[in-house]
Symmetry: C2
Subunit: 220 residues, 2 copies
């Protein structure tokens, strides 16, 4: 459940304005992320919110401007969800494991957030540039972390950017690629998710951890 990310005076008119803007952004993120930007009309959003389309257009001058605001919000929430994992204690595998667990948790509880990022990538153009720019600090931190771990010999040496992409798409796929899972005969229930996460962790463990270091750690 997304909540207000900042809080002016409270009870004031400005506060209530912020609150409805938050509501709109939350519903828009949910809808855009699951159904796609073009598949959701302003009228759809307004109906879900119990307001009129023009109320939305009062806060943002166009649907496209609303999208930009949703992008910023999604990036912010993603960073909040994941950045903490990079700050957690532990090194090498244990930290990677905690990140994977977080992504799974997010994918289970808020699939629209990850779906939205995919949607933005597909829209391309300015939208992609925006989300890229928003997430840049996080990406920098993550790759820097990988580089440190490689230097310490705890993670197999390779291009940290590519490692991040591989790990990202592997986890995101296993967590969200519901139809593909169905195709291979795996119903995405809550129980199977636990199994899936464990299998994926050992997949990633094998792929990432340096062989010399692996001897001193257990993958589960």
């Amino acid at each position: 459940m997304a909540v207000a990310l900042t809080s002016p005076p409270k009870g004031s008119r400005a506060a209530r304005t912020r609150a409805t803007e938050d509501r709109i952004l939350a519903v828009a993120l949910e809808s855009f992320g699951t159904k796609g930007f073009d598949s959701v009309s302003l009228d759809d959003l307004a109906t879900d919110l119990g307001i009129t389309k023009q109320a939305i257009l009062y806060h943002w001058s166009s649907k496209r401007a609303l999208l930009d605001a949703v992008i910023d919000r999604a990036a912010l929430e993603l960073i909040i969800e994941f950045d903490g994992a990079l700050s957690e204690d532990g090194t090498g595998w244990s930290r990677v494991e905690s990140v994977v667990r977080r992504i799974f948790r997010v994918a289970m509880r808020r699939p629209e957030l990850l779906g939205f990022i995919r949607e933005i990538s597909r829209i391309g153009g300015d939208a992609s540039l925006r989300v890229t720019a928003d997430l840049e600090p996080f990406v920098t931190r993550a790759t820097a972390y990988f580089e440190r771990e490689m230097d310490a010999g705890r993670i197999r040496r390779c291009d940290p950017g590519l490692l991040l992409v591989s790990a990202y798409s592997t986890v995101l796929g296993a967590a969200t690629e519901v139809e593909v899972l169905r195709a291979v005969g795996i119903e995405p229930t809550l129980r199977s998710t636990v199994v899936r996460r464990r299998e994926l962790l050992s997949f990633l463990y094998a792929a990432m951890v340096a062989p010399e270091y692996a001897l001193t750690q257990a993958p589960r």
Copy 2:
């Protein structure tokens, strides 16, 4: 370049009908796969094809019926692209490697084909069921292959379905997640793709190949 998949009398009226239907399906697959189903109107398609929207509606009674036809075609083309790799010579790693190379080739040359599968997953409902059903025989072959390789001790033992999903989403991600690549500072040029594929192969190699067997094979 997709071409006609079957060929009646030739030159006949039936042949020309089939040809235009093929053209429509090809353009629809391309557009739906890159822009999304809802983002492409029948008028858009017709304009691209140099015909009128009603010509499309003559061959399929509704936009939704057209989508079903495009799904069938996409699944068929996917199977043609990948199924051959499973029949190729070689065992264990070498065969996996050839499949990965094929996926990369497809992702580079026909990104809309893979994008379309993603789009269908998002649409959900009947569309997903349809593509799942279409691809079922291929998935069965692929998992059976993994199981044989595990029995032979050439691939690390694990759930073959999950292994397929992990490999699928990893490769698909590295091949298509262009925006994410940009975010980590990798411009998706043709040269960088070669590097990416090599890195990904060693990532997959480490993840999949059984350690005992690995000693007898080189990952690149």
